[in-house]
């Protein structure tokens, strides 16, 4: 079964979402990256203080119980859904509610948030990562306010 499943998973090399877990072709980092352009969709929290600040939601304690990679993988999937808009807003509201619940419980030290914004970000990768905090593109996709 181990051998058969292993061969099957390698043979079909299914995308992550359709892998016959726990069997896998282990395709992580196998894609060819010919250029230097990096694009990501990331959530930012909008603080309640004035003037408002935006903090990136990448810290694991902010996104708990989902890990960083898992959370953004799912967000990407929801964006691609036919009812993407509504599903995405539901997911973002859920993330904001959990962030606030955990903040009030003292489970992380992030600031109080009044909204979440999803941005499309793009960088041209620099071998010294000097532009790590300054993407060349920053486009707002969705914003949801605290309920």
């Amino acid at each position: 079964m181990v051998v058969g499943g292993g061969i099957y998973a390698i043979a079909i090399d299914a995308p992550y979402a359709q892998e016959p877990w726990p069997f896998s072709a282990y395709p992580m980092y196998s894609e060819l990256r010919p250029g230097r352009s990096l694009e990501r969709h990331r959530l930012f929290g909008v603080t309640r203080d004035e003037p408002e600040r935006e903090i990136p939601l990448v810290d694991p304690s902010y996104l708990y119980p989902l890990e960083h990679s898992r959370f953004y993988f799912t967000l990407g999937r929801l964006e691609r859904r036919r009812d993407g808009g509504r599903a995405l807003e539901t997911a973002m509201s859920d993330a904001l509610d959990r962030y606030e619940e955990r903040r009030r419980a003292g489970l992380h030290d992030g600031p109080p948030l009044r909204a979440l914004r999803l941005y499309a970000l793009r960088w041209r990768l620099d071998p010294f990562a000097r532009n790590r905090d300054a993407p060349e593109l920053r486009r707002l996709l969705v914003e949801i306010a605290s309920r």
């Binding site: 980092y29 250029g35 799912t74 970000l121």
Partner: protein
Amino acid sequence: MRSEPGFGCALRDRWRRFWFAPDSAANLGFCRFAFFALVLTMFVTRDFSALGALSPVFWKPIQLFALLGLAQPSVGVLEVIQTIWRIALVASCLGALTRVSTAVAFVLGTYLLGLLFCFGGLGHAKSILVFAMGTLALSRCGDSLSVDRWIRARRGEPAPAPHFEYRWPIRLIWVAITFVFFGAGISKLRHAGLAWVTSNTLAYYLMQANYPLGRPAAPPMNDWGLWLARNTLASRGLAAGSMLVELAFPVVLFSRRLRGILVAAAFLMQAGIAVVMGPDFSNFLVTYVFWIPWNRVAERVLGRAGHSRLSPGPVVRGSMLSP
């Protein structure tokens, strides 16, 4: 007149020896102890129950869960399941009611680890734990260095002699590990070909890891990856080395001489990736316990070769160095 045994016979004999030559119960017993102790350490504080409170919008069951018709569980159900799993891990580690405890650890562990992926992505480092737990559940890993063995000894039962039952489980886990590395190598060839080595693809991944908002995994331990990315020879050399280790890994099943080298190289590769790129392989690294011939290590450490309490009966080559 008898003819010389042919290639087929030699191959069959080698196959039999690989899986079924007598081996030490203590070696398998120590692997069981170390493996479950490490799994317990990693998951004892992990709270799976919070997944039950997530909005159903996140829920997308993996094939296994869809096939079994499993829905998103409640917080309460998950609290019960994870408590039983932790107890089963402790019992498996100690070798108490080993057949039952390892079976429970496998079934509930598969459920809890699989559940993580019903909310997005897949954890490739975790799937090897499922194979290892499943293999141990089917084995006689509680026959030595266990509470079960201690009880049997008190009843006057003799220590188990070397037997094939103590060999195949470790070999099966080796095969599962081999699929991981070989699969990763094949995947690179399939998706990128040799350009994975000759292009700057690894340099790209090394740079990406240093962008806090852009990386797909945990942060790297330092920014050495940027130095490697700037040095074309180093990054392409590392890419070539990684692909070579992955594609050559099946050799560990056949060559005693290369086994140690390839396993050490794979370990260093995974540790190196964690240091300069961030992905967490700690779950996977646990399974390296199965490569170490613990009975022989114990004999050397205790300086009691041939009389070790860990090796009842004749000393049998156990792991890394045996065919």
